[in-house]
């Protein structure tokens, strides 16, 4: 026995599972998704057992597609026979439907047609009738092929919570009889806003908690960018989609440099910029160029800011004035205290420490910022730039008292040690 040396591409099982869910659900409806997922799971297990002995076949995707499709069609036909025996109602139309869908499925599974089914599934998972958190969980499960426990680790949630969210989402979509259709031109803009939000938040979930010990979180970031790319390559996209992709890629370029060998977070100022992924930065720049429009979105400004960081040789050589200008326009578009906080830091980095401090103080009087530890970090940062080490230490200590996540605590402690030296 000589197992084939044919190696599977990374995430092959996960992505094929997502492709199959999209195509088979398109054929038989969202109310069938549990059966469909079971059949795909069985097909993947069959592949795993067969290939580890006989080697990976020449066309592994085709192999899995065939097995999953046949398992599903068999299950549906058995069900029909059973129903018929019960009712004696001769539902030949159903057998006909199964037959018709069989040839549709073959076409939809062809490589060049797969994106179409995936796009439809994106709009289903980001259906406006679902809550944002549910949309994120369902997208990760259905379109990325993650398991429930992987999603739970990625989102820092109990597995039971993720499971319930996904089940509730499927039930509610089935009850509403949501079809796997692309939005009409009239509704596209509105539906796209939701998808953008979901992908943006999904990326953030992976990014904000990403550290070396949980590679799943990097995978979540990668998936958000992959789905966004899929949208950009379709007619279902807008300049905002392209700007979002640019933004995600600029951030993704810095993913590896954000953690050290022990998995601890490394701040922008301490990152080894040699480790930033040039390939991703170039791709991001080209998407940002393509996204030009008369009516820029928040993603356009966020991407432009991320770009300024990515093209700078160091924190000192960063064009902070340009970043302040971009934040000003961003705040005109969407008045968020988080943007205001970041603008204040940029103002300080640009040299106007007094103004930065004033802005932070006015933010500090806001009720919703009281427990926001990044505000204390921002105060500390401005004190640090001003040479007030003592005040900086005090602010970091306040931040430390508010920190919950272990990686935040570790980061603040290392910051404090540095300042105390």
């Amino acid at each position: 026995m000589t197992p084939s040396t044919n190696q599977l591409v990374e995430h092959f099982f996960r992505h094929e599972s997502a492709n199959l869910v999209a195509v088979l659900t398109r054929a038989f409806g969202i109310h069938r998704i549990d059966l469909i997922e079971d059949m795909i799971q069985a097909a993947l297990l069959e592949a795993m057992d067969a290939w580890k002995l006989g080697g990976v076949p020449d066309n592994p995707a085709g192999w899995i597609h065939r097995v999953a499709k046949n398992r599903l069609l068999d299950a549906l036909r058995r069900e029909k026979t059973h129903e018929k025996a019960l009712e004696q109602s001769g539902r030949t139309a159903d057998a006909q439907v199964i037959g018709e869908q069989e040839s549709n499925i073959d076409g939809w599974l062809e490589e060049e047609h797969l994106p179409d089914s995936l796009l439809r599934m994106i709009f289903v998972c980001c259906h406006p009738s679902l809550e944002r958190k549910t949309q994120i969980a369902l997208t990760l499960k259905t379109l990325c092929g993650f398991g429930v426990s992987e999603i739970a680790r990625g989102l820092l949630l109990p597995a039971e919570t993720v499971k319930k969210r996904v089940q509730r989402a499927k039930r509610s979509l089935a009850t509403a009889n949501v079809q796997l259709e692309l939005p009409t031109d009239e509704e596209l803009a509105q539906r796209l806003d939701v998808v953008h939000d979901v992908l943006y938040l999904m990326f953030n979930e992976g990014y904000s908690t990403s550290h070396g010990t949980e590679p799943i979180r990097d995978d979540i970031c990668e998936e958000a960018a992959r789905l966004c790319h899929l949208l950009c390559e379709s007619r279902c996209s807008s300049p905002a989609t392209q700007a979002l992709l640019a933004l995600l890629l600029f951030h993704a370029a810095r993913l590896d440099a954000r953690t050290d060998a022990e998995g601890a977070v490394v701040l922008l100022e301490d990152q080894n910029r040699e480790r930033w992924d040039r390939r991703l930065i170039v791709a991001a720049q080209s998407w940002l160029t393509r996204s030009k429009t008369d009516r820029p979105s928040t993603f356009h400004f966020e991407a432009a800011i991320a770009k300024q960081h990515c093209i700078a040789a160091s924190v000192e050589e960063t064009d902070w004035e340009a970043i302040v200008r971009l934040y000003t326009r961003l705040i005109q578009l969407c008045d968020s205290p988080v943007y205001a906080l970041n603008r204040a830091i940029a103002v300080g980095q640009a040299g106007d420490l007094g103004e930065a401090m004033l802005q932070l103080q006015s933010l500090g009087s806001r009720k919703d910022m009281k427990n926001y530890l990044l505000l204390d970090c921002a105060f500390a940062r401005i004190h640090e730039l001003d040479g007030n080490t003592r005040e900086a230490i005090d602010c970091y200590l306040v931040a430390l008292s508010k920190a919950v996540a272990p990686h935040e605590k570790a980061l603040l402690e290392s910051k404090l040690r540095k300042l105390a030296d």
Binding site: M1, P3, L8, H11, F12, F13, R14, E16, S17, Q41, L44, L45, A47, M48, D49, W51, K52, L53, G55, G145, F146, G147, V148, S149, E150
Partner: protein, 117 residues
């Protein structure tokens, strides 16, 4: 050199729900093990998993399925070559890492060939 059979007992009934990513990783670990064992020459037959079956009794009656408790059930086998039991057990330890549960029984395959000259 002697031949040994690895009998993988138990572990198969508690196969947890695997995610696609875990399946791919599990498969890769297995294929790496086969390649490594084959290249090094000690793995004679990576063997296979064993499915359901029947039991033929001494009175020639045939009964469905193996009866052992599930934790005693043989779920798969492999054949290796080693100079002694201790060496075979070292290979079994490598195998255990990809077995994902259960136990591996290492048994020498008795040879009844012609005596060596």
């Amino acid at each position: 050199m002697a031949k040994f059979m690895f009998l993988q007992r138990g572990g198969c009934e508690e196969r947890p729900e695997m995610s696609p990513e875990e399946m791919q990783a599990g498969m890769k670990a297995w294929m790496d093990w086969v390649k490594n064992g084959t290249d090094e020459g000690w793995l004679l037959d990576p063997g296979s998993g064993l499915g359901g079956g029947a039991v033929v009794e001494a009175d020639l009656t045939v009964i469905d399925g193996p009866f052992a408790e599930s934790k005693e059930l043989v779920g798969g086998y492999s054949v290796v070559e080693a100079s002694d039991l201790a060496e075979a057990c070292e290979y079994a330890k490598q195998t255990m890492k990809i077995a994902g549960g259960g136990r591996i029984e290492v048994r020498e395959i008795a040879s009844h060939g012609m005596p060596e000259e």
